[in-house]
């Protein structure tokens, strides 16, 4: 049984690109668990996508032996997702630790996600070690940045550890600090088994691998365990530690971190955050109940060109087995056919799921504009949640509509404050706080409707801060809003896929924008096409696509027939991918580009 005083469990949290993965690599290398030669660059991020997007999507791990002052310690590095979309996953990973390294780039300083992640660590009551990284860069200002962190986050600058994960500088000091400052795990090695599942992943051959941290007691292969939240029993078939590869061991004891297999077939059978205990002798003190992932952002996925609805469905099923934190259900649109309404933890999550669908399953996905959940209070007093404009009941049957609000924290250059405040105001933001991190950088805190930021807010923020601004958000609740459904009519007929729920004050602007885009996407027809945006029967914006006057092939003789026929056949093929609304052919791609928030 391991000596608890020789165990340290910790995570690294950081803003994107502040060097988390490189630091993890260096720690593995310095503790000798993996040689430089074996080291694939950034070993821990094992999915392509993670590397490309510069973020860690699923928690990763390693148990590293480390000798300090003549004693051999076991350092358990628990990697965490790097974005607050994965708030719950981050909080579960942190729950498995006693300490956390808050990593800050010595050239960039505190960023929005540094703040968000640090707050999570504080909430989890963890020992925090401030690490100022990338000190090798010419533009590095380690001391200034440490002071900035102290001012913003209240972490003692004099205790900061300075590293370069790239060159290895400061890694020994960091490991020493981990041993000296992070407390060893508390827990009763001889008590009833109480272990936390902080992550789970499908394994191609053996069902699900559960990542676990033992708090009290211990377990071994052959034990019969109960997952308290699920209420089901499983037989442990393998226990092991991450070396970082899977390394089977006899048992895991209190304070230790590792994994187990137990004949759990799919991710649906295991909940992250659940308690593992011995079936024969269960704990009286399980961890607080499982918190199901909360989807905040919704959009529809439709099969793109060359992909069938069935192929997309299969791909979604497969991906869901790998990440059950998104939801999907079949949805039918008059304009776009059969697709899937999906719910995501946040915008980044949405983007990742779409990319993984396409990349891992070779399907093409067309995505509609993201929307949020609205709370509707009916005149009957009943409260229900809706996720799509078509579900919005008639105004006469509603008392009120409530929309989700988020707290947004933005860290921006001081000279951009005016523009960013204007941007936030345009998005119905309410300013809560302005804090100067230094003479040149400011943290703005706003409360804003979620629907205003999922559209293109973060892109706009980047633009008006020359790329320096960062932002993070968290849900704070639902607030009554004057929301209406805006319909779009093409040649007098409503197009369901283009309906949106908007704030009444914003409807005219959104309506004009949408219709201007639509006008660009629909080619001229042989008749005039009115485009209108309407709230109920009231037209709030209008455009007309004028008819073309002349469209006729001047000559067509015997030698031209095949070529001209093929053009018509191609045109017919193209029309198949169009939706005809009110005699107007609208290309499917046009729907997407109209709905796409990126342009």
């Amino acid at each position: 049984m391991a000596d608890l005083s020789l165990i340290r469990n910790f995570s690294i949290v950081a803003h994107i690109d502040h060097g988390k993965s490189t630091l993890a690599d260096r720690i593995l290398e310095h503790t000798g668990v993996i040689s430089q030669r074996e080291m694939r660059a950034q070993f821990l991020d094992d999915m392509d996508l993670e590397r490309e997007m510069g973020i860690t999507i699923k928690a990763n791990r390693a148990t590293c032996p480390y000798t300090h002052d003549g004693r051999e310690y076991m350092l358990n590095l628990i990697d965490t997702p790097g974005h607050v979309d994965f708030h719950y996953e981050v909080s579960r990973s942190l729950a498995a630790c006693e300490g956390v390294l808050v990593l800050v780039d010595a050239t960039q300083g505190v960023q929005a996600q540094t703040v968000a992640n640090t707050y999570l660590a504080v909430e989890a009551d963890l020992e925090i070690i401030l690490v100022i990284n990338k000190i090798d860069l010419p533009a590095a200002r380690p001391e200034d940045i440490a002071l900035e962190v102290e001012q913003v986050l209240g972490l003692d600058a004099s205790e900061a550890v300075f590293t370069s994960a790239k060159t290895g500088a400061g890694i020994d000091e960091l490991l020493a600090a981990v041993v000296e400052r992070i407390p060893p795990p508390a827990g009763d090695p001889s008590g009833k088994l109480r272990a936390l599942i902080y992550d789970a992943k499908p394994d191609p051959h053996r069902g699900v691998i559960s990542h676990t941290r033992v708090f009290d007691g211990g377990f071994r292969r052959g034990d019969s365990v109960e997952l308290v939240g699920v209420g089901r029993q499983f037989l442990i078939t393998e226990v092991g530690k991450f070396t970082p590869k899977l390394g089977a061991v006899e048992s895991l004891g209190a304070g230790e971190v590792g994994y187990f297999f137990a004949g759990i077939k799919t991710l649906a059978d295991v909940n992250i955050g659940d308690t593992v205990t011995l079936a024969a002798d269960p704990t009286d003190n399980p961890f607080p109940g499982y918190h199901p992932p909360q989807q905040m952002v919704f959009c529809d996925f439709y099969p793109g060109i060359g992909t069938s609805t069935e192929a997309l469905r299969e791909a979604m099923e497969k991906l869901w087995l790998n990440d059950s934190s998104f939801t999907y259900s079949t949805v039918g649109s008059d304009a776009l056919g059969i697709g899937f309404r999906c719910g995501f933890l946040g915008l980044l999550h949405m983007k990742i799921i779409q990319e993984r669908l396409e990349r891992e399953n070779a399907v093409s996905v067309v995505q509609t504009a993201p929307t949020v959940t609205y709370e509707i209070e009916l005149t009957t007093g009943e409260v229900k949640r809706i996720e799509s404009p078509s579900e919005l009941p008639d105004a006469s049957t509603m008392n009120e509509i409530r929309e989700p609000f988020v707290k947004v924290q933005m860290i921006i250059p001081a000279d951009c404050v005016g523009t960013v405040m204007q941007l936030a105001m345009d998005r119905r933001g309410k300013q809560k706080k302005t804090e100067y991190l230094s003479t040149t950088r400011v943290m703005l805190t706003y409360e804003m409707p979620l629907c205003e930021i999922i559209y293109d807010f973060f892109d706009k923020l980047k633009t008006c801060t020359r790329g320096y601004g960062t932002a993070d958000y968290e849900l704070i609740g639902y607030v009554v809003g004057d929301m209406v459904r805006m319909d779009v009519l093409v040649n007098g007929l409503p197009v369901d896929a283009l309906s949106v729920i908007v704030h009444r004050d914003k409807a005219a602007v959104r309506g004009r924008k949408l219709i201007t885009r639509l006008k660009k996407e629909i080619s001229r027809h042989m008749f005039e096409i009115p485009l209108q945006a309407a709230i109920g029967s009231k037209i709030i914006a209008r455009e007309t696509i004028r008819a073309f006057r002349k469209d006729v092939t001047a000559k067509c003789y015997g030698g031209d027939i095949t070529r001209k026929r093929k053009l018509l056949e191609k045109q017919k093929e193209g029309k198949r991918r169009m939706k005809t609304v009110g005699n107007v052919a609208i290309p499917q791609e046009a729907f997407m580009s109209i709905l796409n928030p990126d342009d």
């Binding site: 073309f548 002349k550 001047a554 000559k555 015997g558 095949t562 045109q571």
Partner: protein
């Protein structure tokens, strides 16, 4: 002149024969037909290959050839003896009783008394002349070699020599052209009293120098509204001078329609001879090798020069019939469509047709489905709609 004796009893449908002579003095910027600049080229091998193909295709005399059309290129730039020889090859294999029309394309300044004599002696009854415009600037934009002054003498030479059927090709929608210059060209053409006029809206064909110039921004295409006005003016103007419009771009004095082209527009059977020429009959279409050298080699080595062959299925034929027959003012022949496509066009085009009728682009009579005057301006869009229609019932067989 020897002619193959043949019985005139049931030898199947009326055929057209197209012969492609791919030589021009220079290639015009807008032209996308296969042709090569003549320069000092020896046209003999090509002419001999064409004659060989004529023999091969027509030798057994099994086709009732009603119309012959020599196109190009500019067939009249062939040396007189070659022209004579190739015309003879045609008349040798076609029964004079069958033949109702024999057209040769010509350009102004490529016909003189001797050439005209050769043509007439060779059986030619009709000459189609690429006049295009009576304004030097417009001809320059089109990269045409002739000048406006060449047109009238050429017409006169032909007429004196005995060619009584004359067509003039004119182009509108030329960059820089105005409604006034266009109607002036029309007037000058009418004054020459051709019995047929073909007025084409300038088309920017892919991969032509003209299109490249447009894409590079060196020339600005004619405004769509102006072009539409020119077209409407043409129809009206020619009607008032006794030229009846019978096809999108074709106008004729009574009885003077181009039978060969009408055959194309009725999806009739035709035989094509020469480089890049296409032929289609019995549900089979072929297209010959386009380049002169390749054509000559193929004829020598393989005895034919077919580069592409396709079987015209019923769905293909449906598209082709709509695409060709709606060009005719008379319209799509409903009975012919039922017979050949084995489906009632009203069923085939269903809702789409009804919608087009409702917006006054198409009219349906007992015998025809045709474009209305406003539909004719947007014929491509109408044809695109109809050919994209999917019938709601299955074809019977």
């Amino acid at each position: 002149m020897t002619q193959i004796a043949r019985s005139t009893e049931a030898r199947g449908p009326d055929f057209g024969l197209y012969v492609h002579i791919p030589f021009c003095h220079t290639k015009c910027g807008y032209c996308d037909f296969y042709s090569v600049a003549l320069k000092d080229r020896d046209t003999g091998p090509l002419v001999r290959s064409v004659q060989r193909e004529l023999e091969t295709r027509l030798g057994r005399g099994s086709f009732k050839i009603r119309t012959v059309f020599f196109g190009g290129g500019t067939p009249t730039i062939l040396p007189a003896e070659q022209l004579e020889s190739v015309l003879a090859s045609v008349t040798d294999s076609v029964s004079p009783d069958d033949l109702v029309e024999f057209t040769v394309e010509a350009n102004p300044a490529t016909v003189d008394d001797e050439k005209t004599h050769t043509l007439v002696r060779g059986g030619v009854t009709r000459v189609s002349m690429g006049a295009q415009s009576f304004w030097p600037e417009e001809l320059a934009t089109l990269e045409r070699l002739h000048s406006p002054e060449d047109i009238a003498p050429s017409v006169s030479t032909l007429r004196t020599g005995g060619v009584d059927q004359i067509n003039l090709d004119l182009i509108f929608g030329i960059p820089g052209q105005t409604l006034a210059t266009w109607t002036a060209s029309l007037e000058r053409a009418i004054a020459l009293e051709p019995n047929h006029l073909a007025c084409y809206g300038l088309t920017f064909e892919p991969q032509t120098p003209l299109t490249a110039q447009r894409n590079a921004g060196r020339i600005v295409p004619c405004d769509e509204n102006l072009e539409a006005d020119m077209y409407l003016a043409t129809v009206e103007h020619l009607a008032s001078h006794g030229y009846e419009q019978y096809e999108t771009s074709s106008f004729a004095r009574p009885g003077c329609r181009c039978q060969h082209n009408v055959l194309y527009w009725r999806n009739g059977p035709y035989i094509g001879v020469g480089p890049s020429a296409a032929g289609c009959f019995d549900g089979r279409r072929y297209k010959n090798v386009a380049d002169v050298a390749g054509y000559v080699r193929s004829m020598q080595d393989a005895g034919h020069a077919e580069a592409q062959v396709e079987t015209v299925t019923i769905p293909m034929l449906i598209t082709e019939m709509v695409m060709m027959q709606l060009r005719l003012v008379e319209g799509l022949d409903r009975a012919d469509f039922v017979r050949r496509c084995q489906i009632d066009p009203l069923v085939q085009f269903g809702d789409v047709l009804e919608r087009l009728v409702a917006i006054d682009k198409v009219a349906v009579t007992d015998d025809f489905i045709k474009l209305t005057p406003s539909g004719r301006l947007v014929a491509d869009a109408v044809i695109g709609e109809l050919t994209s229609a999917s019938p709601t019932v299955e074809r019977l067989s």
